[in-house]
Symmetry: C2
Subunit: 344 residues, 2 copies
DNA sequence: CTGAAAGCGCTTACAG
DNA sequence: CTGAAAGCGCTTACAG
């Protein structure tokens, strides 16, 4: 029943079989110089024949490099985060780095992950919307061994770390301007949770852009034209309901994400409102479903955010003294069928 | 500029500081027996004060265990896969296992990942819809060190491995029966790619269930009532278009996923058809959006699939001689607003 | 170009 | 209950 030899192939086996020392095998297999071409060929052939796979733990211990990158996100099952992760993974796939993932949905999880498990475990770290409070960032820095672990942020900032940023104020400006140009004046906002004072920077910046643009255009800001949609379809539907069930409903809604916009669309439909006849809606992201539903939106190349973060991290890993950089991701207005001039 | 000591804290430092041997530190910190209570307390205190973190590579090399689990999925950015991963991650989060992810979108990626990088890298592996062809499965088995690496499959089978299964024939039966009971006879199918002979088992089983149920009910099977939707919203929209743009369109559609059903819904809307007046639609999954759109669907607890896989894997890791198991995930019909008796 | 040997930071019998 | 020492499987100066 039990196989004859359970032990797996080690570098010793390859060395013995090829008739050289383990040092030579090590050099030959990693394409280091100072190996005779014929020796290298023989070693490579032997390793393949034996299906030798170096033990990563041993290499890591010997070199001090983990050849591992971690990515931490608040949620694994959100449209946005899975797109970003996918983009990062695609870049990393051929580099030989392993990709570790961590979900850090709350403060406790964040602290637990950022203070312990990562140290000595990864060479680099991509943090997506993982807001590290001011008072924790120093601890975090030292936990990461000063500059030992390279960090790249997406959607927020960390002192001294590279980051991928979107001009979220500009995103909101684009959306609100588009609606205003169509003639709308009663423009509402569907955003993140409204009770999240120091929460994510993204909703804050988008709200800022909304407020600034409305003011710049002399349009009325009304507290009843603002509702939290929790970045979910259901949340958007509820927020849309609140906005529409008033005496003086808005004629246009800017939703901070397409998913919330889908909810607003549904809320309008439930109330028998025509879109864009009675209500214009614009979202953010350019979700696959947005195209199918004809949703006007501010397009982001979300997977590209992850790819940019991964590329940036690789650069830092290759050149440890590279200064922190800011990578700007682009956005653009995509006009489809959910926006039109107001009925009157 | 450069910090005084770059070296990180090792077990030696803790031992020296606590005035004991590294062996004792090792035992004390891992709660092994044969450590005096006071000694243990002192060691623990010292380790915490020094913020000692054991080097995982060293532990792994010494023990032969990697305390790492990998999860491989065809795509990272699909609704289904990200839900499954999320469920698995939640179970694994508190176990101390690291979670590695691999996207294996095509044959080449699958072979590359399953034959090399995993060996000596993980203790266990969760494979989601990663169809390993017959001729590769033997190779795969030996690459995984016979029984060294524990494997759990979701959505397909591998000889000798535990798996999480859904009765997909039953899923289709549930959907088709529901439509038939409402009085529909012209029931169409929107499924996976139709040109994928040995592709995923899930679409095949659901198609089988559709065919079987139609036959059992003496309903007509027509080749023009079957369209491939590639499990995407856009694909569903196109498939819906094909189905509806005929002389004798169906009165009901069973889409193999909610996302495809959304596309069908949109195709109907584009053609001015009323749902459920002119067309009934049922999907599979119970996607968040399904609730908002009122889509009738066959509910699956998708995150639970991942959680079941993770729990199963942990069991196998704890008890290596546990025989392979089959874990059945439940499904149920959720009737909402997209299904009704046919107009006539 | 090649090999012997030390070292990476842990764990684990083994002896005391 | 504790410690000295071997060993895990690599890499890397160093000597030849």
């Amino acid at each position: 029943m039990a196989g004859p030899d359970r032990r797996s192939i080690t570098i010793e086996d390859v060395a013995a079989e090829a008739g050289v020392s383990v040092a030579t095998v090590s050099r030959a297999l990693r394409d280091l110089p100072n190996v005779a071409p014929q020796t290298r060929a023989r070693v490579v052939e032997t390793a393949e024949r034996l299906r030798y796979q170096p033990d990563p733990s041993a290499s890591r211990l010997a070199t001090g490099r983990t050849t591992t990158i971690a990515i931490a996100v608040p949620l694994l099952d959100s449209w946005y985060f899975s797109k970003v992760m996918s983009g990062a993974e695609a870049v990393l796939a051929d580099t030989g780095y392993d990709l570790l993932i961590f979900a850090v949905e709350n403060d406790e999880a964040r602290r637990r992950v950022l203070s312990g498990p990562l140290v000595k475990r990864v060479d680099g770290l991509i943090l997506i919307d993982v807001h590290v409070p001011q008072e924790e960032s120093a601890d975090f820095g030292s936990a990461m061994g000063g500059d030992e672990v390279k960090v790249v942020c997406v959607g927020f900032s960390l002192p001294g770390a590279s980051k991928v940023v979107v001009d979220d104020v500009g995103v909101a400006r684009l959306a609100v301007s588009h609606l205003a140009e169509l003639g709308h004046t009663r423009i509402a906002l569907v955003g993140g949770p409204t009770d999240d004072p120091l929460g994510s920077e993204v909703p804050r910046a988008r709200r800022q852009g909304y407020v600034d643009t409305m003011q710049a255009l002399d349009l009325p800001l009304r507290s009843d034209y603002e509702a939290g949609g929790h970045f979910s379809v259901t949340g958007g539907e509820e927020a849309g309901g609140c906005l529409l069930d008033t005496d003086d409903p808005p004629t246009a809604v800017f939703a901070m994400s397409d998913e919330m916009a889908f909810g607003v669309l549904e809320a309008a439909r439930e109330r028998g409102l025509d879109v864009p006849g009675d209500l214009s809606v614009v979202g953010v992201d350019d979700h696959e479903v947005a195209r199918v539903l004809g949703l006007t939106t501010i397009r982001q190349r979300v997977a590209e955010h992850g790819a940019m973060a991964a590329r940036s991290l690789l650069e830092h890993l290759e050149d440890p003294k590279l200064p922190a950089r800011i990578h700007r991701a682009e956005t653009s207005l995509v006009v489809r069928r959910t926006t039109a001039p107001p009925a009157r």
